[in-house]
Amino acid sequence: MGTFLLRRLMRSAVLIVVVTFLTYFLVSLTPGDAAYTLLGARATPEQLQALRHDMELDQPLVEQYWRWLSSALHGDFGRSLLTQQSTSEVLSQRLEPTVSLLAGTVLVSVALGCLFGVLAAVRGGWLGRLVDLVGQMGLAVPNFVLGLILIAVFAVNMRLFPVSGYIAFAEDPGLWIRSLVLPVCGLAFGVIGVMARQLKVSMEEVMQREFITAMRANGYPQRSIIYRHALRNAGLPVVANLGVIVVGMLSGSVLMESVFALPGLGSLLVQASAQADLPLVEGVVVVMTVIIVAVNIGVDLISAWLDPRVVRP
């Protein structure tokens, strides 16, 4: 278990360094640098030079990155170029809506995806076809388009949920849930289809395996064969893929936040990107990468719990 966790943590560290360095490198390619953005087009070359020196922009890239990384490790991501607010402060304000949206979506889609997947595999028939269809449809309707449709139907027409906006949990838990229902549905729909279909295919494959035949032949209870043995084994590839699914969900959440005007990290990213506020952009990328890493570690732990071969090879 120890070496397994260590390996996974190493992988996470590598991922964080790669992503942050790539972003840093990318940002350094900007035609006008941060000093330029700050001072504007009318600045004299001397002024620019002085500010660059102050901001240590004239140092080698790797050195700059190193300095940035070490202060980032202390929670200091610099300041917004436009508002001069501390980046970490802005980020922490924006974290809640995004995490609520993601957590809600993961919960809903894992629960429903498993349910439909298993039912489709066991019952087959029209339910199986439906799962296949939704698996396809979920892909064909981009989630932000679905979000628009949900707004038109459930918010504008039926007035069941707010059209947009976010209420913090601390403010009013009931309204918090109401403000999340539509975005979570929009984001989860496709994922449910994909997961259900994956689980169905995986179940069908596992049910053909020799150990299932052996169990049936030796009188293990049918229920246990399907829900304990087959499901557990069929779940392995699905769980392993969960990390990738959450990565996709993160991309989707950016669009969902934009559709539903949720003040989360995604909308911060879009806004900062449009204003070329690079410290903010970097900060968001870091936080998102950390979310991915956390999810991956969670997925690894679940995999290890489900499949002993992961930890005890």
Partner: protein
């Protein structure tokens, strides 16, 4: 978004390495020419042409605003109506498709030109290239695509091309992985090895032999990357960061429609329809699923015989199992061929009967049909009388009650016959609880007792292990323990030693014999090994091409075997080979089900064949008491009976 879609594609390996016959049938149903594929292709061509001819078709300028006609409905002057600034919706969609499709093309182009060659190379050569590329791909695949693209657009504002090139690089990782896996599978094929031996250059092998084989997979995956590129492009357009504002893209049209969705919902309809159809079209081209439905709760196939109570001939009292006229036929969907043809035999209480033959003779199908575990698409006919019950008449539930308790199975490959995710002790305890009303704790104690019964010296340690942590021989002991948990009267052992090391084989056979004696179990032993037959069996049945060709007591079979096939099999037995002499084998192989000749099915390979042999089906006939055979050249107590020299 990206990964979700790619990951939903089923195992790419299934696209390659299938039997040609199967492939050709698949092609008819799902291949490139099924109607959905044609429609999808037609739609994509249509929008591409429309994009090219946009200025001719549009009729309006996509940028001209007409604030007097904002959000007009469809029809009249503006065919699809206007948007929030009174611009013609059709014109904006048509012109928008140019940018959007260009973006998709760029993304797909970059993705394919990186992913495919690298995948081919890594999958074929393996080694360090593969390791490094796979590691990079893994990192790329765990990057949040859209977020990186937004960052890129922060650096290069409104540069759709830069964004889509980045998309191409990111998505090439998934493409790489799939191409690599398929290539790896194909490269192991015999004829690739042959090509290598024939001295073809690496380039020739890759381009001429491997690439054509994996082409369907590559095409399908490319279509999926295209769908992704489109979705991504739409997302960027929706966020309004892919192109400078008045310029139209599909995503931008959607975004504009969304701002006024509360007032007029029509504006959102045309772009949503166009977008959905296009993604669906890519999706259809990328759909290579060959999911074979497997119903878990399958109705037992009934025979076409009248439902009136069958007058089963009561088997003699000492007979435990009596199989009569057992026939297993694949349904038309499964190919329609006969797997087991009119097989009849019996097993007495406490008797060990061998079922012998080469692979493909129908041994496993016969033995599993007794347990009601025939292939999904098979129909079983005949009688299987087990202690007065006709097994073919039982419902699934009644049959389930019998399994493990009265008839149990030990399979061929112990390492895959146990649930890999659960500790051995727990699996065994579950089997115990399935048959006896005992508590959890007691069941674990009984499980350890069973492990002791199968001569495992340290039952507690083994009970704590997982199946992958024990050896094959140990796993087979555990499988035997599982089968014994219900104290069965009949044990079906399907090639119980084939997958094991020679040294372990003897131990397992000894164990089986001891257990059989201790418990007075009847055993149906499926094997192709005459040593096993000689060692254990009281009687043996020789199967060839779905039929019984000879049946006799073991001793008689060894001294007076009549059928040329039995003789040939015994001569080919590796235990009988004399050192220094050339290995005797039977030429040719068992004809596969569906291609059995009308006359003697062994005629092609028989050394004693004459012309009459192929004239008509050969019946079984009695040679001596308890000895039957199926050969026209053997007569009752024939002095000329074939013997192994």
């Amino acid at each position: 978004m990206s990964a979700e879609i790619l990951s939903s594609t089923p195992d790419p390996d299934s696209a390659a390495g299938q039997r040609p016959k199967f492939l050709s049938k698949e092609r008819a149903r799902r291949g490139p020419y099924r109607p959905a594929t044609l429609l999808a292709g037609a739609w994509l061509i249509l929008i591409t042409v429309a994009a090219g001819a946009a200025p001719l078709l549009a009729g309006h300028d996509p940028l001209t605003q007409d604030l007097a006609q904002v959000q007009v409905g469809p029809g009249g002057e503006h065919l699809l109506g206007t948007d929030s600034l009174g611009r013609d919706l059709l014109a904006r969609l048509l012109h928008g498709s140019r940018t959007t499709l260009l973006g998709v093309a760029v993304g797909v182009g970059v993705s394919v030109s990186i992913g495919v060659p690298l995948g081919l190379y890594a999958g074929y050569l393996r080694g360090r290239v593969d390791k490094v590329a796979s590691a990079v791909a893994e990192i790329l695949m765990s990057l949040p695509g859209l977020i990186i693209l937004i960052t890129v657009l922060a650096v290069y504002p409104y540069s759709m091309i830069a964004a889509m090139v980045t998309f191409g690089v990111l998505s090439s990782a998934a493409l790489f992985r799939i191409v690599r896996n398929v290539t790896m599978a194909v490269a192991q094929d015999l004829y690739i090895t042959a090509a290598k031996l024939a001295g073809l250059s690496r380039r020739q092998i890759l381009l001429r032999h491997i690439l054509p084989r994996i082409r369907p997979t590559v095409v399908a995956q490319t279509a999926i990357v295209a769908a992704l590129a489109l979705v991504t492009q739409l997302g960027l357009g929706f966020l309004g960061i892919d192109t400078r504002p008045p310029h139209a893209t599909w995503g931008g049209v959607l975004q504009d429609a969304s701002t006024v969705i509360a007032v007029s919902s029509w504006t959102v309809v045309p772009p949503v329809v166009v977008v959905t159809l296009t993604i669906l079209a890519f999706g259809i081209l990328g759909d290579t699923t060959t999911s074979q439905p497997y119903r878990l709760t399958r109705a037992r196939t009934r025979t076409g015989r009248p439902q009136a109570p069958r007058t089963t001939r009561r088997a003699p009292a000492d007979q435990l199992l009596c199989v009569e006229h057992l026939t297993v036929v694949l349904t038309r969907g499964g190919g329609g061929s006969i797997l087991v043809d009119d097989v009849s035999f019996g097993i007495g209480r406490g008797e060990i009967v061998g079922l012998v033959g080469e692979s493909g003779a129908g041994k496993s199908v016969t033995s599993r049909a007794i347990l009601g575990l025939q292939p999904t698409q098979a129909k079983v006919d005949g009688f299987i009388d087990f202690d007065g019950l006709n097994l073919l008449d039982l419902t699934d539930k009644e049959l389930h009650h019998l399994r493990g308790r009265r008839i149990a199975l030990v399979g061929q490959e112990p390492m895959v016959s146990l649930d890999p995710t659960i500790r051995i002790g727990a699996q065994l305890a579950e089997a115990v609880r399935a048959h006896q009303k005992v508590g959890r704790k007691e069941s674990h104690r009984l499980a350890r007792q069973l492990l002791t019964d199968v001569r495992i010296s340290d039952p507690s340690a083994v009970a704590d292990r997982y199946p992958h942590e024990i050896s094959g021989g140990m796993a087979q002991r555990v499988c035997i323990a599982v089968a014994l948990a219900g104290n069965p009267e009949l044990l079906i052992a399907d090639e119980p030693t084939t997958a094991l090391d020679v040294t372990v084989q003897a131990e397992i056979l000894d164990l089986l014999r001891d257990l059989q004696r201790e418990r007075n179990m009847a055993v149906l032993l499926v094997t192709h090994d005459w040593g096993v037959v000689a060692d254990l069996c009281d009687r043996a049945i020789v199967l060839y091409a779905g039929q019984i060709v000879e049946q006799a007591a073991t001793e008689r079979l060894f001294d007076h075997s009549c059928h040329p096939y039995t003789a040939a099999l015994r001569a080919a037995d590796p235990h009988q080979q004399q050192p220094g002499r050339r290995l005797t084998t039977i030429g040719g192989s068992v004809p596969p089900p569906g291609s059995w000749p009308p006359g003697c099915r062994f005629a092609d390979r028989c050394v004693s064949v004459t012309e009459e042999c192929s004239n008509a089906a050969v019946p079984l006939h009695l040679v001596a008491e308890g000895h039957i055979t199926r050969c026209i050249h053997v007569r009752a107590d024939d002095k000329e009976a074939h013997r192994v020299p």
